[in-house]
């Protein structure tokens, strides 16, 4: 097991190098001169522009810029953004907010998705099942920004149950509505995935055996059906955490959440290579690690799965 984990961590290294290189190259290839853009409509002051270019290594060829960036990573100093602030500090501000939002969305979609899916699966073909299926289809069908704007307008502005945007603290309470919006589509997927998986397992031999043994319905459902049904769901949820963090740009925009998406969007627009790469790299790492955790969870859910070294 330990060897397995070590191996997986070693695999992160090429992923890390590849991701940073690719993203750095993409930002480098963006058309337009980011320093000239700092001057807006005004004439570019050549002396000032030259000074800033050398400060951000923008006067160097691509490969030198990239290697300098890699060097800065390994010395734990990610450099500065255009406002002269340390990128490490910027990451420290935005990631906790988005992590909070993504984890809340994940809990929402996990807890409610599995619960609704389980009940729907157990009552296959009944009224509840039908309602939930239609509702989930609608949720999947509507783009996230439409749902976001509508919920913001009706719940935030018309009813006044929540603030339309998050407060400066971006507290858990503020993030409830954005988290629901963010998790809504995935919630529908989790629900449908759980339902299908439960229906499949209900007909399995071991469930029939468990019932025949005289086990309580509660035990049959929780231990035999649910636990076995969770493997595909957990796979989905694990992959979804990364998606939620990176994909929160739209939701963050609607609810004005001061998180990763907001900063990333601004950094892309202003062509701040190191900021973009740093943010994306952390996102990639989160994605990899959450997938590793999912793989490890398999063994816990289904003892038949073993990790051989």
């Amino acid at each position: 097991m330990a060897t397995y984990i070590l191996k997986r961590f070693l695999q992160l290294l090429p992923v890390f190098i590849g991701a940073t290189f690719l993203v750095y190259f993409l930002v480098f290839s963006l058309p337009g001169d980011p320093i000239a853009a700092l001057f807006g409509d005004k004439p570019v002051n050549a002396a000032v522009a030259a000074k800033l270019r050398s400060q951000y290594h923008l006067d160097q060829p691509f490969i030198v810029q990239y290697l300098l960036y890699l060097k800065s990573i390994f010395t734990f100093d990610l450099g500065q953004d255009f406002s002269g602030r340390s990128i490490a500090a910027v990451l420290g501000e935005v990631f906790p907010v988005t992590a909070r939002l993504a984890v809340m969305a994940l809990i929402f979609e996990g807890v409610f998705g599995i619960a609704f899916g389980l009940v729907a699966g157990l009552r296959k073909g009944k009224f509840f099942d039908g309602t939930v299926l239609i509702a989930s289809l609608i949720v999947i069908g509507i783009p996230i920004f439409v749902l976001g704007f509508l919920l913001q307008f009706f719940i935030g502005v018309q009813l006044g149950w929540a603030k339309p945007t998050v407060s400066s603290a971006a507290s858990v309470q503020d993030l409830i509505l954005p988290a629901i919006v963010l998790g809504l589509a995935s919630f529908a997927y989790v629900l449908r995935l759980t339902r299908t998986s439960v229906i499949e397992n209900m007909n399995a031999d071991y469930v029939r055996t468990a019932t025949a043994k005289g086990l309580s319905r509660f035990r049959v459902v929780n231990v035999h059906i649910l636990r076995n049904s969770l493997i595909p769901v957990i796979t989905f949820l694990g992959a979804d955490l990364g998606t939620l963090m990176g994909g929160a740009i739209v939701t963050e925009g609607i609810f004005n959440v001061p998180g990763v998406g907001n900063r990333l969007y601004r950094a892309v627009l202003s062509g701040e290579g190191p900021t973009v790469v740093s943010i994306v790299t952390v996102l990639v790492l989160i994605y990899c690690v959450s997938n590793l955790i999912v793989d490890l969870l398999y063994a816990w859910l289904d003892p038949r799965i073993r990790y051989d070294s």
Binding site: V44, V146, D174, R266
Partner: protein, 545 residues
């Protein structure tokens, strides 16, 4: 259309969401009870400053809003764009070139440091020197010695035109006479900074110390979230704070800010988002404002393009200008959010005139336009297969709608091919303009840095000027401008500027379209909201209810 289809779904989704979240209500509708006094902290919208707060490094609205409130310069501008003395006692120059500036006694920064003539000289020298790479360094270009200090790689850190006479007096020598130079002194670049700022600008820029009507609250700058200002009790100028402070909440988009305004979570919204322009007056009633400010929109047509040079080019530009129905576009596309342009400047400026000779060229007249176009064709044939393009940036500003409207009018009224040419970002469109590689027209706009007619003319149309996208080059115009600059009074200068405009109105290096109009709104918690000449609310005047 989409709404009706999805509204049912919304109901289900909303019920689902609420049922599942248990009690998502939480905060409820507890808008702070209005106290009806000057202690109310005003919540306004802002954007994250691009650079640390250093006066000469401020180059965009996010930092500009903060800078104008935490600093006080020699002069400031009142609501009508008139410049009034703030720290200055007197600014005099008999020849519009050698200025003697006297400042008021006993002025202090909020850290207790005294503000003397030397403070100003040091601050300005710092701002101009290439070594310090300040984005707004160009503002000092009129001062003698600027060129030496600002040259690439220069180690000169002082300008020879600045001399301290005594504690409260200093002299400024300009390179040439500029009658409107004192008007510039209210711009953020000219604000004084304490000595600590010059020693360590980076640390200072995070926690700036100024001398304006407000000061930064303790840990007031939460990056990307909000910036809190509190009144400066020692400030005694004309912009005394009438509220308990201002918190600039940083928004990523105006739509979110507008929702906050509707639910009283935001007190003042500077700019109504495009999506709400059609209905903000009915949403807000008398809590809204529409007021022109010192900005305009034009389309610049570069003279280096063969089809647009010489006499034929001039006639064609006049034809284009007359083929555009400005009244219709401002009404239909902007719902009155713009005013048709009648000159190259802005109606909020001192010296503005709506009937400068030649302004008829900006009036819609399809028949005359066709006639002029035919005249141009007689000189130099227009290839009917070429398309007249207007380049614009699609990332912000909502330019597509009006560019399409203008090109459609050109198609209909002149019978030529015309279309918009969109660029994903502002910087790409700008790159083309600054490198002189435009293939057609480009949208251009100007927002004045200080309220002066010259600011709308000199920096854009003078030969070799930095923002001369059209590469316009007319010695007669240059001469008219320098005549205006050497005038002995601002009033005489303005007359000369309008003379210069007569030349522009014939040549039309850029075609003025409309004047910008500020559209804003406020919550039920505040009153006394008015906008300044620059389209920014006069935050210091706002009170709670």
């Amino acid at each position: 259309m989409r709404f009706s289809r999805t509204s049912k779904a919304l109901g289900v989704a909303a019920i689902l969401a609420l049922a599942m979240s248990g009690c998502s209500g939480g905060s409820g509708n507890s808008s702070s009870s209005s106290t009806g006094n000057s202690n109310k902290v005003i919540i306004a919208d802002g954007s994250e400053p691009q650079r640390p707060i250093m006066p000469a490094d401020i180059n965009e609205v996010g930092g500009g809003k903060i800078g104008t409130l935490i600093f006080a310069g020699l002069v400031s501008y009142d609501a009508n764009g008139k410049s009034v003395n703030e720290l200055a006692d007197s600014i005099q120059a008999p020849d519009a070139q050698h200025f003697t500036i006297k400042i008021k006694k006993d002025q202090k920064f909020t850290n207790g440091e005294a503000i003397t003539a030397k403070t100003f000289v040091d601050s300005w020298n710092f701002g101009a020197a290439a070594k310090n790479a300040q984005l707004s360094a160009t503002f000092f270009e009129s001062i003698k010695g600027y060129d030496e200090a600002s040259a690439t790689g220069s180690t000169v850190t002082t300008m020879s035109g600045l001399k301290v006479v005594d504690d409260t007096t200093f002299t400024v020598e300009l390179k040439q006479p500029e009658s409107d130079w004192p008007l510039r002194l209210g711009y953020t670049a000219f604000m004084p900074v304490p000595s600590a700022a010059l020693a360590d600008p980076k640390t200072y820029g995070e926690k700036p110390v100024g001398n304006g009507p407000y000061k930064m609250a303790e840990n007031g700058w939460q990056h990307n979230v909000q910036i809190s200002l509190v009144p400066n009790p020692d400030y005694n100028g004309p912009r005394k704070a009438k509220n308990g402070g201002i918190t600039f909440k940083i928004y990523q988009n105006d739509d979110a800010a507008y929702q906050d305004l509707l639910s009283n979570n935001l007190d003042v919204l500077q700019t109504i988002p495009t999506s709400a322009v059609a209905n903000f007056k009915s949403d807000l009633g008398d809590r809204s404002i529409e007021k022109p400010y010192a900005g305009n929109q034009t389309i610049a047509i570069p003279e280096y393009l063969p089809a647009w040079s010489g006499e034929a080019g001039k006639l064609r530009r006049q034809a284009i200008s007359m083929a555009i129905n400005r009244d219709e576009i401002t009404k239909v596309i902007f719902s009155g959010g713009r005013q048709p342009a009648k000159d190259f400047t802005s109606p909020v400026l001192d010296g503005y005139s709506d009937n400068v000779p030649g302004s008829d060229n900006l009036k819609f007249d399809a028949a005359k336009a066709k006639e002029l176009w035919a005249k141009a064709d007689a000189i130099q044939k227009w290839d009917p297969n070429t398309t007249f393009t207007i380049a614009y940036n699609a990332d912000k500003g909502g330019h597509k709608a009006w560019v399409d409207a203008v090109t459609n009018q050109l198609k209909n009224n002149l019978g030529i091919k015309a279309e918009g040419l969109s660029f994903p970002t502002f910087k790409e469109a700008r790159d083309l303009a600054t490198s002189g590689k435009l293939t057609g027209a480009i949208r251009a706009g100007w927002q004045a840095d200080y309220p002066s007619l010259y600011n709308f003319l000199g920096p854009i149309y003078k030969t070799g000027a930095g923002s001369n996208d059209a590469r316009y080059d007319n010695p007669a115009f240059n001469k008219a401008i320098s005549d205006g600059l050497s005038a002995s009074s601002v009033a005489d200068g303005n007359k000369a500027m309008n003379k210069a405009q007569e030349i522009l109105l014939q040549d039309l290096p850029a075609i003025p379209l409309w004047y910008q109009v500020a559209q804003g709104g406020w919550s039920t918690n505040v009153s006394n909201v008015d906008y300044g000449w620059d389209g920014v609310p006069l935050y210091y005047d706002i009170t709670g209810k």
